[in-house]
């Protein structure tokens, strides 16, 4: 496992943020999956956490959640809280988990997706007095599933292109010049 240089990190952050923000605003509302809609901000925060981890990933999670909160009509700060915590957990210690294998990444993301969607539904049950079973089975589960499905293309692209993420412009020797 190796780090990513600052330029690559900025570029990746910018591209992923733009893509996920546009998808969240333009595509997610118009393509429902049962009663659920993909949460591209969860995907963004998870990718940031899995790629960079640490403080960077945690802050990215908070900002992604805040963006989601502003897009929705639910109380502000709820998704920000959940994505902050999930990003911290996903990015804890290990950096660039995408290189640890796609199965690990998918498993971790799936757990995060179900946990975040479930917790969000439970919070809304308490705040807005929605029905518990309906919130879990008709909202949270479809949301978690469609979010996992939408995460896979991102993971595939990032995993395939990881050889292109050069560590620095100075071309350091040996394996340190590339992710893998």
């Amino acid at each position: 496992m190796q780090g990513i240089d600052k330029n690559t990190k900025r570029r990746l952050t910018l591209v992923l943020t733009l893509v996920c923000a546009v998808l969240q605003l333009a595509i997610a509302p118009n393509l429902p999956f049962f009663s659920g809609r993909a949460n591209f901000m969860l995907i963004l925060s998870a990718l940031m956490a899995q790629l960079f981890g640490g403080r960077y990933g945690t802050v990215a999670g908070f900002l992604s959640g805040l963006f989601f909160d502003f897009c929705s009509t639910s109380p502000l700060g709820l998704m920000a809280l959940l994505l902050t915590i999930s990003s911290y957990v996903l990015g804890y210690e290990v950096r660039n988990k995408l290189n640890d294998g796609t199965k690990v990444s998918i498993t971790q993301f799936s757990i995060a997706s179900f946990a975040v969607s479930g917790a969000y539904a439970l919070a809304l049950v308490m705040v807005e007095r929605a029905g518990f079973l309906e919130a879990i089975f008709m909202r949270a589960l479809p949301t978690a599933v469609i979010t996992i499905i939408c995460y896979l293309p991102f993971l595939m692209i990032l995993s395939r292109n990881r050889g292109g993420f050069t560590l620095s412009s100075s071309r350091g020797p040996g394996r340190s010049s590339r992710l893998h």
């Binding site: 333009a26 809609r37 403080r55 902050t84 560590l167």
Partner: protein
């Protein structure tokens, strides 16, 4: 090696920050925002920021709506793949042009129909209204909302009722200068005062996560039939009186229950919403009259008295049991 010291991980040997301090700060910040948002709702600073955000992002929603529209027509494209290629090559251009023209004309005809329908409703019910186009569905999984392309600049405000050619669909829950979010009647948090047209039985129409509508608080001694028409009652002063909402699809009676279990099938379908009318003001005739309010109160009082009677009977029965022992 030019690897960032901060993010160099194992190669640089530096201990990377785990983000623990950031986590604590951001969790506190999130909880503060959440508390403020729950307390103040969509008013105040947070409401203004959300409105500004909605203003900035509306163009993306409009583009997204346009981009995703053709996806619904993918079935036709797959069907065409099985046709004879030689024939298609000769006729492709002509077919494409004709198909495009046909689609345009059909779209225009449908649009004209929908607008005519809206105009008729506007005229029939004498509504002071503004027409708007639906540009987006709900951005999250937990609410049933739509976004329309008119906002406060067009005179829209929070609370205004919205309808399509079939009937009532919801009311505006937040507004920005160029767009507004409409909370649909199917949303779990939505309640609309309605009545059954045939017997004037008043009740409250509530949404659910499954997209169904339940009509609550209709007393069990009233007669309600399947296919009875449900209209707005005008109580509360939000929705004009007498607008169609849907029809009764299921009526359930539980022995001993004070209220009926009624399911309502809405006339409007969320999937087909494209143009809507926002009712900007109500006339005096559209508000619930004093008689309507008295009637609703009488129904409520009658239900309360029934509850009291049941309790008295239960108490008496308990006393009798005690004495007999």
């Amino acid at each position: 090696m030019a690897v960032s010291r901060e993010y160099g991980s194992g190669l640089s040997g530096a201990t990377p920050p785990t983000g623990g301090r950031a986590l604590i700060i951001l969790v506190v910040l999130s909880l503060s925002l959440f508390t403020m948002s729950v307390r103040s709702g969509d008013t105040g600073v947070l409401g203004a920021v959300r409105s500004g955000f909605s203003f900035v992002t509306t163009p993306f929603r409009i583009v997204g709506s346009a981009v995703t529209a053709p996806i619904y027509g993918l079935g036709n494209i797959f069907a065409n793949l099985t046709a004879d290629q030689a024939t298609l090559s000769e006729l492709r251009e002509e077919n494409d042009a004709l198909r495009q023209r046909n689609v345009e004309l059909e779209e225009q005809a449908l649009l004209a129909d929908r607008l005519t329908e809206l105009m008729e409703i506007q005229s029939t019910y004498n509504l002071q209204s503004v027409s708007a186009r639906v540009i987006s569905g709900s951005t999250d999984s937990w609410t049933s909302t739509i976004t329309i392309d008119k906002g406060s600049a067009a005179g829209l405000a929070v609370g205004m009722p919205v309808m399509d050619g079939s009937g009532v669909i919801g009311q505006i829950s937040s507004v920005s200068p160029n767009s507004a979010v409409v909370r649909l009647i199917f949303d779990e948090g939505s309640s609309v005062p309605v009545m059954i047209q045939s017997n004037r039985a008043q009740g409250m129409l509530n949404g659910s996560a499954g997209g169904g509508l339940s009509l609550d608080l209709v007393r069990s001694d009233l007669t309600v039939e399947i296919d009875d028409i449900v209209v707005t009652s005008g109580l509360g002063g939000v929705y004009p009186k007498g607008l169609p909402v849907g029809r009764v699809s299921v009526v359930g009676r539980n022995p001993g229950a004070l209220y009926l279990d009624i399911s309502v099938e809405a006339y409007s379908h969320v999937q087909s919403l494209e143009e809507v009318l926002v009712i900007t003001s109500l006339t005096d005739e559209q508000r619930a009259s004093a008689e309507d309010i008295e009637e609703a109160d009488a129904q409520e009082m009658s239900a309360i008295n029934d509850v009291a009677d049941v309790q008295v009977r239960e108490d008496e029965a308990a006393d009798d049991d005690g004495e007999s022992r």
